[in-house]
């Protein structure tokens, strides 16, 4: 069965393109465009991995990540932060809230895919 990835970004173009790439790689893809929706979809559909943007409407990526990672039921879902914020402090923050990976935008497809493969076993 195909592994399911939840893609969260408020930029429709990025969603469209990433969705295409992930499907091409053989993943099943579900999407969300704000933090609240992301949380609901994650809880309801239990994806195998989440790719999470940081600057999101309603609930930012850090909060989404923390709420999932602090919940026994969902904390096993790997989360990759995908953000245009590239400073050390941002990455550190990602670690603090329990993210499993941090990839900066613009990203090298191979780097992102590599991280996904490592985490989704």
């Amino acid at each position: 069965m195909a592994k399911k990835i939840l893609l969260v970004d408020d930029e429709p173009h990025i969603i469209t393109m990433l969705e295409n790439r992930m499907k091409h790689e053989g993943y099943e893809v579900i999407t969300a465009s704000d933090g609240q929706q992301a949380l609901l979809r994650a809880q309801k559909e239990k994806p195998d991995l989440i790719i999470l943007d940081l600057m999101l409407p309603k609930l930012d990526g850090y909060k989404v990540c923390r709420m999932l990672k602090f919940d026994e039921k969902y904390k096993h879902i790997p989360i990759i932060m995908l953000s245009a914020r590239a400073q050390e402090a941002d990455k550190k923050m990602g670690e603090t809230v329990g993210a499993d990976g941090y990839v900066t935008k613009p990203f090298e497809p191979q780097v992102l895919l590599g991280k996904i493969k490592d985490l989704i076993k």
Binding site: E11, M17, L18, R21, T104, K105, P106, F107
Partner: protein, 485 residues
């Protein structure tokens, strides 16, 4: 009652030799007396003043500020106050005039600096936001082109692929420019805290060379290294200094088609001099002053290869200056270029001080305590007479090992010189200072007695703590400086 100053010789001498300008003016506003300080302030000889109208309205019972147009110097500012006196039997007014030109100048300078800082901050925040906003659209452009190139969206011709690859290269270059701008804005806004350690500069140079050696070989260039044999220790941020070497070497390789790339380190008395040189294209004399400015690229070549961002040397300069070092360039067109940077070598006293300053800044920033110890050999002069340098150095190494064994946290630090070891423990609460001191002194003394040296060598210890002894690094340093030679 007005005082009769003119009859009191002592008072007259006091007025005559006073560093403040003092002038006596009669009722009609004519100057009766001016001391040498007044001559200097008004930039006029005594005889040019006396008997002439004073020229300023009297302040009455207020203190007023007056502008003094000098004959040869710029306008000065002074504060003036008056008192009534009797001068040679006449009623007069004595004026005390206090020069505040320097003070005003400093104030103005400070205001200008504050304003500059404010503008810098706004500018840097702006750059930081813009960088973030630019990255997002760049992401979908890059990803879209990537997918077309990879063939996800149907077949592409060879020519299309070529053009798309060029787009991708330039997107990556734009992305590097954005990174560079962010880097500069962070360096300039002081947001970068250097992670300084005592390191061998040669090792840093080698590490940079090794990451570029393939490029040097591929271009058929010869690498010439000239490093000192002895360890050349220096207190710097490892990653940042490697970045400097990589940047300079990268440039040297890029602009050199044949000949040599040179890297050298010279260990001088008070500083370390590093040189990265090449036999390349060189920089025209008229361009030299702008080498370190942003977005200045000279001798750009038409053709393949990674394009520069025009930010590298500006970042290099900032990093060296953050380390309080200096960098300069020498170049001759078609002969080659030489970048020379110098980094200051700290004496152990300066180094210890620097460790305390850096440790304290971190502690204040994180709102955590800081505990500082210096263990030292007491009466070192006498010990030096009795034992040879090698023996003492071995002993110090052993001490360092014993103390190092007690470091608990990753951030804990120990540094040594020939007679003292500084131990900086961030996070460690000040209440524990005494017990740690006792425990470590005991450990060192046990070793001494095991070696039969306990009669000849005694161990001293000085401590300081933040917040126990204050939050000023000078105060903390004062508490332990006796322990350092």
């Amino acid at each position: 009652m007005p005082s009769k100053i003119s009859k009191d010789l002592n008072l007259l001498t006091f007025i005559e030799t006073n560093l403040e300008a003092i002038v006596v003016v009669d009722k009609s506003g004519l100057v009766l007396f001016a001391n040498p300080a007044a001559s200097r302030l008004f930039d006029r000889e005594k005889k040019e003043l006396i008997g002439k109208p004073f020229g300023f309205p009297l302040p009455g019972d207020r203190i007023v500020e007056i502008n003094i147009p000098g004959k040869n110097k710029e306008v000065g500012i002074a504060q003036m106050q008056q008192m009534p006196i009797e001068w040679q039997g006449r009623r007069a007014v004595i004026l005390l005039i206090h020069d505040i030109s320097e003070l005003k100048k400093t104030e103005m300078l400070k205001a200008a600096m504050d304003e500059r800082r404010r503008i810098d901050r706004i500018k840097n925040e702006f750059i930081s936001n813009v960088s973030h906003e630019l990255r997002t659209p760049l992401t979908s452009v890059r990803e879209g082109i990537s997918q077309i190139l990879e063939g996800f969206l149907g077949k592409t011709t060879q020519k299309q692929k070529e053009f798309l690859s060029m787009c991708l290269e330039d997107i990556d270059r734009l992305s590097r420019i954005i990174d560079g701008l962010l880097d500069i804005s962070r360096i300039e806004s002081g947001k970068i805290i250097l992670k300084k350690e005592t390191l061998d500069i040669v090792e840093l140079a080698r590490s940079a060379v090794s990451s570029l050696s393939v490029k040097i070989k591929n271009k058929g260039l010869e690498l010439i290294e000239d490093f000192p044999k002895e360890k050349t220790e220096i207190y710097v941020d490892r990653d940042r200094i490697i970045e400097v070497f990589i940047n300079l070497l990268g440039n040297a390789i890029k602009f050199t088609d044949k000949g040599q790339i040179g890297v050298s380190v010279k260990n001088k008395a008070k500083l370390v001099e590093c040189i990265v040189s090449d036999t390349g294209r060189g920089i025209a004399k008229k361009d030299l002053p702008r080498v370190f400015s942003r977005f200045q690229q000279f001798g750009r070549v038409f053709g393949p290869g990674e394009k520069g961002t025009g930010l590298g040397l500006s970042i290099v300069k900032s990093i060296i200056e953050l380390h309080k070092g200096q960098i300069r360039v020498e170049s001759k067109l078609d002969k080659g270029t030489k970048f020379i940077f110098t980094l200051f070598k700290y004496t152990s006293r300066e180094l210890f001080r620097q460790y305390i300053v850096d440790g304290l800044r971190e502690a204040v920033h994180n709102d955590e305590p800081l505990s500082i110890f210096v263990f030292y050999i007491e009466d070192f002069a006498a010990v030096k007479k009795e034992f040879d340098t090698k023996r003492i150095s071995l002993l110090m190494n052993k001490f360092y090992e014993i103390i190092g064994g007690h470091l608990r946290r990753q951030a804990d630090l120990a540094v040594k010189d020939d007679s003292a070891i500084l131990l900086v423990l961030p996070v460690t609460k000040n209440e524990y200072i005494d017990s740690i001191q006792t425990r470590l002194t005991q450990a060192l003394e046990e070793y001494l007695s095991k070696e039969g040296l306990d009669k000849k060598i005694r161990i001293g210890c000085k401590t300081a703590g933040f917040p126990r002894d204050g939050s000023n690094s000078d105060v903390l340093f004062d508490k332990i400086k006796e322990a350092i030679n």
